[in-house]
């Protein structure tokens, strides 16, 4: 099959070999490292990578910059939790959460596809705010206090069916597995017709229309795929932490802005970029929060998030192409699964 040939070719490049090595390390890591805090941190990195990859499908590959991915995340989280209350296994909950997010994202695309880049971005930001307000005031789904997992789950023995473990290791593999699946699926999509169309839309919408592409439809599709995986990530969060509230899952800073920064640090024109970016950014941000947060107290949040702003500012002004883009331009490494092939001979 053509796809298998392409994957084999991709993995035999320099970047591909590094990736394969890293993947093997990732799989055996929990068997070697005992530090649960570290395993948990890596789980978070994978979870954020899932979001960042999904976010970048819209941004780096379709040209749709979103500051509101928390919306998809939160829908996934709440769906899983509410289904849990009705005795539905989180596996189905995760799937349905993803599908619901996808459906919502698709419908959102219909009015939003008319918005030009700036207004689209602002619209998504605003959407996130709206969802936060709505869920924080919606008593039927817990309102501002959020939702705890059903008590009987806390008391039941851990099982794969309910995904109610105490240790982070199972969730580590859950997140890693879904990340791997997402990477594979996105790779296949991007090397097929919709993938080509997404990139054409990113490059030039009018030219895309003149080339027979139904731009609105494909924007909606891109958003739906992006929403799906982000929703699944929301489900992962829910099973891992067993408690959700709107200020956490619809958080602009914690959920919407993280993938933006991660994507920019790593580079938006490849599939691997956002993952690298998450690897760099997430542990740093969380580490800072743990260490510095203690000393500064309530003012800390301001400093913490303001520093995100500074990081974002520096990167967007100095190296907008991100780490992978920087490496590529210097001819050091062609990033794995990068968009837009070919050479710049001139």
């Amino acid at each position: 099959m053509r796809a298998l040939r392409m994957i084999k070719a991709e993995l035999s490049t320099k970047a591909g070999r590094i990736f394969t090595a890293a993947a093997i390390v990732a799989v055996i890591l929990p068997l070697v490292v005992r530090d649960q805090f570290f395993i948990n941190a890596m789980m978070l990195v994978y979870m954020y990578s899932i979001i960042a990859l999904a976010w970048n499908l819209m941004n780096g590959y379709t040209g749709l910059l979103s500051f509101g991915h928390a919306v998809f995340f939160g829908i996934g989280a709440y769906t899983l939790m509410l289904l849990l209350y009705r005795g539905v296994t989180p596996w189905i909950g995760m799937l349905l959460g993803g599908l619901l997010s996808a459906g919502f994202a698709f419908l959102l695309g219909i009015p939003f596809s008319r918005l030009r880049s700036h207004w689209f971005a602002l619209g998504t930001l605003v959407l996130g705010e709206i969802f936060l307000i709505v869920f924080a005031n919606w008593r039927a789904v817990g309102g501002a206090l959020g939702l705890d997992q059903p008590r009987r789950l806390l008391l039941s023995p851990p099982s794969i069916y309910w995904l109610n473990y105490a240790r982070p290791t199972p969730y580590y593999y859950l997140a890693l597995g879904i990340l791997g699946l997402e990477l594979l699926l996105l790779y296949l999509i991007l090397n097929s017709k919709p993938g080509y169309f997404f990139q054409a839309i990113r490059e030039d919408e009018e030219a895309a229309m003149a080339s027979g592409i139904n731009v609105t439809l494909y924007k909606c599709i891109s958003m739906a795929i992006s929403g799906f995986f982000t929703g699944v990530a929301g489900g992962i969060y829910t099973v891992r932490f067993g408690y959700i509230d709107p200020y956490a899952v619809f958080s602009m800073m914690r959920i919407s802005v993280y993938p933006v920064i991660a994507g920019l640090i790593g580079g938006v024109y490849s599939l691997i970029g956002p993952i690298i970016g998450s690897l760099i950014f997430v542990p740093t941000a969380e580490y800072l929060r743990a260490i510095v947060g203690g000393t500064l107290g309530s003012r800390f949040q301001g400093v913490h998030f303001a520093s995100f702003g500074i990081v974002l500012l520096i990167i967007s002004m100095r190296i907008p192409e991100g780490l992978m883009g920087w490496l590529e331009m210097r001819g050091l490494l062609k990033p794995l699964m990068s968009s837009g092939g070919g050479s710049d001979e001139r």
Binding site: H118, L122, V126, E129, V134, G302, A306, G309, M317
Partner: protein, 288 residues
């Protein structure tokens, strides 16, 4: 059957409030019209101006309306620094870069404020905060009225500036066709800086006005960013008259909906209006 009087009351308040909202949105619309960028930090400049008025009132006893004027001046200065220091450098880049730059500024200002002044809500209450005027049976908040009058004055001044002065016309020319404007000898770079400064200055003025009755908190920018966004889309990108009317519509919609739904949800109403406009008439009510 809803009490007609209540409806009339809400409409009046809404129109007054809408004037103030309109000024905020006008700044955003102006910047977009001339520079083709969205100033994500728009609402947060507003927040800074509100804090300025708060501090001037609390520590110096200065009336917030003076704060509004100082806010206007601060807006000019701040706008100048930000535009020349950061935005000008990325104007040629693809949209994502300029979006990220103004978004970064949003983060730095909003959370810098939180770091500096804490997350607590502050209010300031000048003598007219509680004053209610009774005009033909309609109760009008004095703070709203003064705010609306100042906003109207600012809007008219802006209109005159854009239509009658050479600089204003140059600004409009640049917004319509940059190349042609440059061929006529207009320095586009100066126009960009000017439009950004005026945009932020307007928001500086509005901040002082709003602080007389609105709560002051670091996140307040988010709400006005949302409202401005909806108003500009409603009024049509690039149409100042449309934006002003959009402001009035949103103000009225907000006050009227407050009769039926909990006040926290009024932003949702604005957003739904926005979605409807987008689906039915993509270029807003008046815009190009």
């Amino acid at each position: 059957m809803v009490d007609l009087w209540l409806l009339g009351q809400a409409t009046t308040s809404g129109l007054l409030l809408g004037c103030i909202y309109a000024v905020v949105a006008l700044g955003l619309s102006l910047i977009w019209g001339v520079m083709e960028i969205v100033n994500f930090a728009h609402g947060d400049f507003l927040m800074l101006s509100m804090y300025l008025s708060y501090f001037l009132f609390t520590y110096l006893g200065l009336d917030p309306l003076i704060g509004a004027i100082l806010g206007f001046l601060m807006g000019l200065a701040l706008g100048f620094i930000v535009e020349k220091g950061l935005i000008e450098k990325v104007l040629g880049s693809p949209p994502i870069v300029t979006i990220l730059v103004t978004f970064s500024i949003l983060l730095i200002i909003r959370y810098g404020a939180m770091a500096a002044w804490g997350p607590g809500v502050k209010t300031l209450h000048p003598w007219y905060f509680m004053a209610i005027l009774n005009l033909w049976g309609v109760r009008i908040s004095m703070a709203y009225l003064i705010g609306a009058l100042i906003s109207l004055a600012a809007t008219i001044a802006l209109h005159i500036f854009l239509k009658k002065t050479y600089t204003g016309i140059a600004l409009r020319a640049t917004s319509q066709n940059r190349l042609a404007a440059e061929l006529l000898g207009i320095d586009a770079k100066k126009m960009y800086t000017l439009s950004f400064c005026i945009g932020v200055a307007l928001v500086g003025l509005a901040g002082g006005v709003l602080s007389t009755f609105y709560y002051v908190v670091p996140e307040v920018g988010g709400r006005f960013c949302l409202l401005s966004f909806v108003i500009v889309v409603l009024g049509g990108f690039g149409s100042l008259l449309g934006t002003f009317l959009g402001g009035l519509i949103i103000g009225v919609a907000e006050e009227i909906s407050a009769i039926f739904i909990p006040p926290v949800m009024k932003d949702v109403v604005a957003f739904i209006i926005f979605l409807l406009i987008l689906m039915l008439k993509p270029s807003g009510l008046f815009g190009r």
